[in-house]
Amino acid sequence: ACAPAPTDSGSGSNDSASDFLPCIVSDFGGFDDKSFNQSSYDGITAASKELGVEFKQAESTTEDQYASNVSSMVDQGCNFILTVGFALANATRDAAQDNPDVDFAIIDSAISNDDFSPLTLDNVKPVLYDTAQAAFLAGYLAAGTTKTGIVGTYGGLQFPSVTIFMDGFVDGVAYHNEQKGTSVTVTGWDKEAQTGTFAGSFDDISAGKTISQNLINSGVDIILPVAGPLFQGTAQAINDSGKDVAIIGVDSDLFETTPEFGGLYLTSVMKQMADAAKQIIVDAAGGDFSSDPYVGTLENEGVLLAPLHDFESKVDPALVTEIDTIKAAIISGDIVVTSDATPK
């Protein structure tokens, strides 16, 4: 508390860009959900730092707040509003229609009319991810790495943005079985029947732990938790079990974001939301906003597999090469990864 007081002149920073005001509205989970809200928030933070502008934020805690949060952002004079999650699609659409001079981008969703027909608006950019592609690679990697021959996954709630990971993962494992004649099984998700194991929430970390314990008990040695912060429960379950079990993270590279469990991450299935969000905002500030949907794929590196980090030495380099080949095949369209949940 004894630091010298700043001089007044510097406080305004560069006024040139300051009439651009980017804003963000979260889904519930909030900006520290260690998941897509947080990634998007990181994106807008990075963008505003680069642009040297302030930004405004609103967290939604309940479903009836979406519309008001978005419209109060409009009231605040935001020029660009980033909304996070499919749940905000209609709120975004309505606000966009009422305020044609404000630009919007929505993470993980397209927008549609009330009769579900797809809708494009000049001032809304949907940001979508074909996550199954990256999850496919993760599945292949897991199948090639597992020692017990059983890999597992579970979700928070059965949402498409969750099951798309699980679908890709299952297909990747199946592809490995097909190619290598292995018989690795996936516990926790049945792609055909679309049934599986879910924690029932995205906050109950201990539920994540319990499920993971049960997965480990049934012989699983690689787990893909698709449930926001619940992966922390998985990590604890692994530590408690004393067994050699690995986690595959989702959304961001968990090795970077939650380093305390570093040794457990085989890899992460990343959706590069922060990068995308940042880029879109910077573009918008420069007057280059476009409403064309952005679809993150392996090709444009919107989705990708994180580095192996600590597992580098433990994974067969041949497997890594195969994965690169598969990646190329997916990009070229030789392998088509499908999921009911793939954005259309």
Binding site: D32, G152, T195, S206, K209, Q213, N214, S218, Q236
Partner: protein, 389 residues
Amino acid sequence: MLVVFGRDGISTMRLSTGSDLIQLPALELPTRATGVVITVLLLAITLVSSRLVYKRAKVPVWLISVFAFLLLVGFLVWASAGSTLPIPGLLFGSISLAVPLIFGALGGVISERVGVVNIAIEGQLLAGAFTSALVASVTNQPLLGLLAAMVAGMAVSFVLAAFSIKYFVDQVIVGVVLNVLVIGFTGFLYSQLLAPNSALLNQPPKFERIHIPFLSEIPIIGPVLFRQTLIVYLMYVAVIAVYFAVFHTKWGLRLRAVGEHPQAADTVGINVARTRFLNVSLAGAIVGLGGAYFTLGSVGAFGKEMTAGAGFIALAAVIFGRWDPIRATLAALLFGFASNLQSVLSIIGSPVPSEFMLMLPYLVTIFAVAGLVGRSRPPAASGKPYIKS
């Protein structure tokens, strides 16, 4: 039912974990045959008890228990047709899920027994979880975290006590509001303080598992009960201590007297307000321990609203357990078991949609309360302020 929907195959029950000294062979049961046997037994019991009911005699509790047990075994065998059910894992997970519920329920029992309705269990758990994570991270001492959790639970209780005992505010109001308040405060501090500095403030050291010599080698129950963390052992102690104290000590006698008939307690020289104050605070401390379990015993970091309604389930366990520490513990265990069972079943592959599996523990509780417990009588003065002239 089991016969009708009989599934063919072998149901395997794994009874030992890999690290047990005494390895029990896995139990392999032919699904259909076991189903038939159990159904016959169940029918027999039903017949016997309906005759008893007809004769206006009471159906003995053990018979009901045997019935419930057989039903459960039958269900497990049916559900695990063609796959393996790890029994120790199933039970271990049940306990893990039940630990915070049990602490919560114990606190609830004490508080209601002394005449103060404790709707604020959820808040006490959450406060305990938050504080223990923070303190243990900063000091790097899980024990201090535990202590801090007790203090935090007590602090919440203290507000409950002060408002309801000193200012005669409706206890339900205070409880409900306290939950909201704690959710708000911890959420606020989490996003302002813990999340930005998580390496420093939200990485508490966890308690290690302690294997108790000999006991932990008992088949089935050893790995389940005696390879736990300190908090779980504390829970065993707490259950027994609370039971003993409530029913066999001077403290408990006075506590119950105040909760049943405060004026009568007053007339024999017991200070009603003080007794309530102390015990409500104590209850908060116990619930706080349950909160610490989330962060120091189970998942190792605080997360927003991480108690996810456990306090309300604990409240249900208090009522379900008829304000008795042992019964409330059993109720919490039943809930833990049902929750874990659904997760195990969904993992070994259940054809039922996940949402219906997730409903299971709640439906089980409703059936248990409606079918087995029925009407229960709370402590007579619970929820009522005592106003002296």
